[in-house]
């Protein structure tokens, strides 16, 4: 059974600081997704990571994937208040259809 764990679950940080959210998963997968969710809203796709060593960057966010370690990271550089949200990683596995198994989410609060 595929399990996905994120840490930390809660993160409060100051603007301008750097930090990393970790996503570990238990079985082999060929793709991993990062989503952002604002309070009361739906999920917004941030990154799709398809292969070992994949790195993608968008603004102050950078995601990477190490399939051998079964680990993905979401790195935040010089955080700004607008990045406050809950971030989910989701790991794909194919069993009749592409299914996503989500981590618990990391609630990120960035204080001025």
């Amino acid at each position: 059974e595929l399990k996905v764990e994120q840490n930390p679950l809660f993160l409060s940080m100051q603007e301008g600081k750097n930090y990393t959210i970790y996503c570990n998963y238990s079985t082999t997968s060929d793709r991993l997704y990062w989503y952002r969710q604002d309070p009361g809203k739906s999920l917004e796709s941030l990154f799709v990571l398809l292969s070992n060593g994949a790195v993608k960057q968008e603004g102050r966010l950078m995601a990477s994937l190490d399939t051998k370690a079964r680990l993905s990271t979401l790195h935040i550089t010089a955080a700004v208040h607008d990045l406050s949200a809950t971030y989910f990683c989701a790991v794909s596995h194919y069993q009749g259809a592409q299914k996503l198994v989500f981590g618990q989410g990391t609630r990120l609060t960035i204080n001025p």
Partner: protein
């Protein structure tokens, strides 16, 4: 394109009542999914469909039924609502393909359901 839409946005039920949640997509996607989101647990897959007329169970299917009579619609039914089904329900759709931009799941806005 409206993308993925869900009806209703909010609903309050009493224990034992039944209801149907509607998901519609206008992207001609083959695959559709129903998830529930509970605090601290991320999203969990309830049921999914790989095409018109097909449905399959996900991780937490008990207490729910689904139907996919038309390609663009995926209905989630609660036969006899229980307080444990209080949650936010999200529908998603995708088109099966190995190219990343076509394999992504697109999510609807969610339905917040409270069962008293």
């Amino acid at each position: 394109n409206a993308g993925v839409t869900q009806t209703p946005k909010f609903r309050v039920l009493k224990t034992g009542q039944s209801m149907t949640l509607l998901c519609a997509q206008d992207m001609n996607h083959e695959y559709m999914y129903w998830y529930r989101q509970d605090p601290g647990m991320g999203l969990r897959l309830i049921h999914y469909s790989v095409g018109e007329g097909t449905t399959a169970k996900g991780e937490v299917p008990d207490g729910y039924n689904v139907s996919r009579l038309k390609k663009q619609n995926f209905l989630l039914g609660l036969e006899s609502a229980a307080p444990s089904q209080t949650s936010v329900y999200f529908c998603a759709s995708s088109y099966p393909n190995n190219r990343e931009e076509l394999d992504e799941q697109f999510f609807g806005p969610g339905t917040r359901l409270t069962v008293l």
